[in-house]
Subunit: 361 residues, 2 copies
């Protein structure tokens, strides 16, 4: 079967706690959801081959590229960059750089993935630092939060660039016409916060960027749905993400205890079980798996290391959507408009070739 | 009735959205819980007097001190310090400095309260910066998190001092024998995080302080109950606190929708209602109201500005417990032990006089 009209995604098959089993099973599940998808599995060929053979859906849309090494989870990013040239992570990123794949998904070491992706794919001209972005559920729908951990400290211009990328993401991928933007702070008054957030707020009030800047927001605004895009440095963003996950777990733990606490409560649970299961699906962290590295000349998605095949399939879906909606092209146009940056020639590679005209796996 | 053996708490009656009505009603509720308590209400005497008269419990244990001014919520701390000398907030703090009260509780402007409390009560020798500490519910019991917003940026030594104060709080107030301490970070590996947290971790591993240092923890560890004391800078701590509050609200919102989504779910809710109400009480943010300013030569508690009398009563309870358990004395002893700091003479004032021998209100 020819690979024409396929969106090819390179998968680091060796990243994450579940190894190739989870990656291949996730890929098969994502294939059910996205018939246009095709894969390049990168890793230990001897382990991957029999796994791929288990799924008839993966036949004809899968290429396996052998990588002799893996990147350990505790390896420093700088060392991973030097020592990981033959790793599954690196070769999967290389597949995007060469234009063989439209995007890469990995559950491996986040710092190493960011370092390698930056080195191989390069940052977009006009973007100083890529950011990690993720979706949060809100009382209204969902919001995008960035940075979730790529940059521990950010200057005002970094935050402004994050705001711009987040707004374009909301528009192109989530279909929000005029995305609203908030800067995460510890109060909504103008005088509150670090110099960096106050300066960034000043710039966002003045500069005509895509989206509507709504000023400062606080931690509780993230899930309230106050704005569509929440901009913060990577340290605070990561703490917000993990605190939200922890709080959701705590309440789920309390709910289980509550429904076991009396006979009436047990009966009540039995009656409401169907509805409660739907809620469980709605807030399932696996649905929100797939953190996007925005600002690179290529699409790179980080899956949670501990996720299962359901979660990994969500991360593949995120990568597919980013490519399918032409997110990076839209960013490039916006940069050209507001920063006068020339569209980078390199971007044409992976981005213009999500749909391969021919070739086979 | 003589005021002997009473723990006198000064209340800023004009702070918070609910004004003196909430403060006086909260004081009456706290009096039911703590028979040893007595109050100095500070604020607009004409408004406070008839409110106090409504509660027979407050008779004989209440003094009213008139303050002509209030501190507006949006006033900068530096201006509040200069312009607020006749405010209810300032005069309530002064009551502690003079030894008339053992502690002060206010629902007013946080920044102004911290600035005034620091200026009037002074920081303890050996503590460079006071921190705001609060209790979080966990899967096991509860934990104390500090700083929640007093210090946007902290150096390593500040963080170490927070760790020490948090551990002593757990011991003296929560009764935990050997409190465990974690530093909030974006990963548990040694190389992760800002210079400040990495340096602080190094010091905490070396220096023999009270409590057991367990290294870095992440946002999800707060509610998991991984450690008893969570140490972080005020920016990250505030974002963690508010993100946790927002997430709890989101899930509560989803639960209400879930129980309304079908007839079975409605019936199930009716059956489990008793147990669910208990859960609601357990995670009620009003129960966790009352942020403590630790590191001052006097006990100062900040109540949430938007809370009701239930929440305000919790904040009074926090102040009472801190005085009753001799928290500040224990900190002083610990500082003397590890830093060689002389017990400050000034501390004797408010701390040695929680139990007035005689006098009346």
């Amino acid at each position: 079967m020819p690979m024409s009209n396929k969106t090819i995604i390179a998968l680091d098959a060796m990243g994450g706690d579940g190894g190739p089993e989870v990656v291949v099973a996730g890929a098969a599940l994502a294939r059910e959801r996205y018939p246009k998808i095709a894969y390049i599995f990168v890793g230990d060929e001897a382990r991957i081959k029999p796994l791929v053979a288990r799924y008839p859906l993966l036949k004809d849309i899968s290429e396996i590229r052998h990588a002799p090494d893996i990147v350990p989870n505790d390896l420093k990013p700088s060392l991973a960059l030097r020592q990981g040239r033959a790793s599954s992570m690196r070769l999967a990123i290389n597949a995007v750089a060469k234009g063989d794949a439209a995007s890469v998904v990995s559950s491996g070491n986040t710092g190493a993935l960011m370092a390698m992706a930056k080195f191989v794919l390069k940052t977009m001209p006009g973007i100083d630092r890529p950011a990690i972005a993720g979706l949060f559920p809100t009382q209204i729908a969902e919001c995008v939060v960035l940075d979730l951990g790529a940059n521990l400290e950010c200057d005002a211009e970094n935050l402004v660039q994050f705001a711009m990328m987040g707004a374009i993401f909301c528009h192109t991928v989530l279909g929000i016409q005029d995305p609203t933007i908030g800067l995460l702070n510890i109060g909504v008054e103008e005088m509150k916060g670090h110099d960096e957030v106050r300066t960034a707020a000043g710039i966002l009030r003045e500069r005509p960027i895509f989206g509507s800047f709504k000023g400062f927001i606080e931690g509780n605004d993230i899930t309230a749905g106050t704005v569509d895009v929440i901009v913060t440095d990577g340290f605070s963003g990561n703490i917000a993400l993990k605190t939200a996950e922890g709080t959701a777990k705590l309440i789920s733990h309390f709910l289980i205890q509550t429904f076991k606490s009396s006979l009436f409560a047990r009966l009540g649970y039995c009656l409401a079980r169907g509805a409660l299961r739907k809620l469980k699906v709605r807030v399932d962290p696996r649905r929100y798996n797939g953190a996007m590295f925005l600002g690179l000349q290529g699409v790179c998605v980080k899956s949670h290391g501990g996720t299962d095949h359901e979660g990994f399939a969500s991360a593949i879906g995120v990568a597919f959507d980013l490519v399918d909606r032409g997110f990076n092209h839209r960013i490039r146009d916006e940069l050209a408009l507001h920063y006068g940056v020339e569209p980078p020639a390199k971007l044409e590679g992976p981005e213009e070739k999500p749909l391969l005209e021919n070739g086979d796996a």
